[in-house]
Point group: none
Chain length 204, copies 4
């Protein structure tokens, strides 16, 4: 409510941009969200033309919305890298990423094929951060070396998004995912002579 900074109308415009953005992200969170310009405008309490004008087209609006959701995630990833070791950073990041995504169900569908500037840039940053985590953890001996980091980045990214989309968002599934993933990523000690021979042989 601290708006009376003085500048005449700019404040309102900024507020409405925020409103539109919030409405868009809210619809991005609903599983069956409509994501039409009019639906967003209605939810924001604005006219349809207003949100179009504020962003310059639907694509730009969605770009901004997705980016505004993604930005703190990226930020968090980069901060984690500075604060804790790479393995712990990866684990923590995944927990938070999934929690975040669970609250914004449609975002993955939108992210697919989104080549709009802000989103694409953030995605690149995100990939970089995760790659750094994985490379670092690998260097620390916490992640297996028989798989390429690049592949693991894609693997982690795609599966995390997929898990986050599960409905209903189950703590149990998230726990299972993290457990299986982190254990599977570890350097594998050759197990006690099993009937099936050494682990991890897939020749499709």
């Amino acid at each position: 409510m601290v708006e009376g900074t003085g500048r005449g109308r700019r404040a309102d415009a900024v507020r409405n941009r925020q409103l539109a953005l919030q409405a868009a992200t809210a619809l991005l969170a609903e599983p069956g969200g409509t994501l039409t310009v009019e639906a967003i405008a209605r939810k924001a309490g604005l006219g349809a033309a207003t949100v179009v004008r504020a962003f310059g087209g639907k694509e730009a609006l969605l770009d901004a919305a997705v980016a505004s959701l993604l930005a703190p995630v990226v930020d968090r990833a980069e901060r984690l890298l500075e604060q804790v070791g790479p393995e712990r950073a990866l684990r923590t990041f995944l927990v938070e990423l999934i929690a975040f995504q669970s609250a914004h169900h449609s975002i993955s569908d939108q992210l697919e094929g989104m080549e709009t500037p802000a989103t694409a840039a953030l995605r690149r940053q995100l990939v970089s951060a995760v790659e750094e985590m994985i490379v670092g953890a690998r260097r620390d001996g916490a992640i297996r070396t028989d798989l390429e980091p690049a592949a693991l980045v894609t693997l982690v990214g795609r599966t995390a998004f997929a898990i986050a989309q599960a409905r209903p968002a189950s703590e149990e599934i998230v726990h299972a995912y993290l457990t299986v993933l982190m254990d599977g990523l570890r350097p594998q000690s050759p197990g006690p002579g099993s009937k099936e021979g050494p682990r991890s042989q897939h020749t499709p």
Copy 2:
């Protein structure tokens, strides 16, 4: 005009259903496929009204198309269960599932939120089969017991679909996925006392 058999009309109807189905599945496979009724009809060499009439609406058509794609997958899963051990069945099934999905890119997008009868039923069957695999493998000691089978089923299903959607479909990523997943699913031997304590502790 040479219909001959007297059930000619019925035979035609069946043939047209097949044509429409094939066209829909073909479009489902193309990454940028247009999935409009008219596009499907054109591909099928039929009129738009015919394909609608044959299924009673676009939703029913897509239901049938997805189901027709899913059916052999389910079939394969159930057959594998009868023929090989559950762990091997799971592994093999995943390989094939991903390969199948990679060849039908749009299907996952469609599967999301599809509660149409045929597809939903098949999905239930698929879940059952995978559950059986997991329960069996767990009984055999090939899968860890600290995670609930139901959660693992969801986990496996969602991540497999996610990996299959990767573009470009990379052998390397699929391999990494299968390796990490199968290793992560195994009963974990307690590692040598690490600083971080025993494995698989996530306190989000």
Copy 3:
């Protein structure tokens, strides 16, 4: 009205295309015609989507409408060239062109900058025909030789369209135009020594 040729629905489609075309040309004739797709559709007694679908876009619709109006004019020009001498052809053609245009007021505005295929092609044909008339008349000694035929073609074309647009369409103005133009186009005999010196000196 001879439509009952047998082919099921094509006949109706053709009829509706004609209806849309007629509606468009009718609006093209009205000075303040609205020329929106919906106005055309309403006038034709059709849905807006129908006329769009029938032509593939508003531009194509206007192209077809203008072309359908222009085609008989071009045809007439070419026929005249075969039947009468070039000077008489030019004169007759202009009379008819203006009469035609007077009945379709908006067409000139549309012709400006129309680079759609059918219209552009017809315009080229029209220019060719008029050029042939002028070149022929010049060869016959009926048109002055101190001005380039190409310039005269443009001159005749633009002014004829302009005269046709006069409201109200006055016979008197058309007559004055034709008289002045044709006389001005003739080889000019040096008049009796006037105060102002020889004719036709413009040095802007």
Copy 4:
């Protein structure tokens, strides 16, 4: 806030009107000019609401803009009448009119059907001036008497506008136009007995 004079506001309003007018006339000159209120305002360095408010609507703005362009033309016509003989006045005026129009391409499109007060009044003045030129020239024996002055006024006005609109603005075409027009307007000496009989017979 340093307004000083007390009539500052009014002075500002006048200045803004001028700015808007200049912007509008500048846009009127550009062939592909956008002519939206916002474009005009941007070019004028003003707010959109300001230019609307200053004129009371877009139509009034265009009226004023066109009028401001037309006014000097009318002025020039009336001045020429006072300074040189009517025939010379007509010729000179046409040269200048065409040059002026060529520099303001969009104006003719706007003039069509403009019945807004300022423009209409100026047009009437312009018609009067040209009529005076023609009547005067006719009295001087420089213009043929077999055509009504009123018709010639319309004829000259429409065709001049049409020629001015030619793209690209060609000196050659303008020259051809003036030559043909002025020669055609002259009293016609009966030609030597031609096969086609006396000149200027049009039987449409």
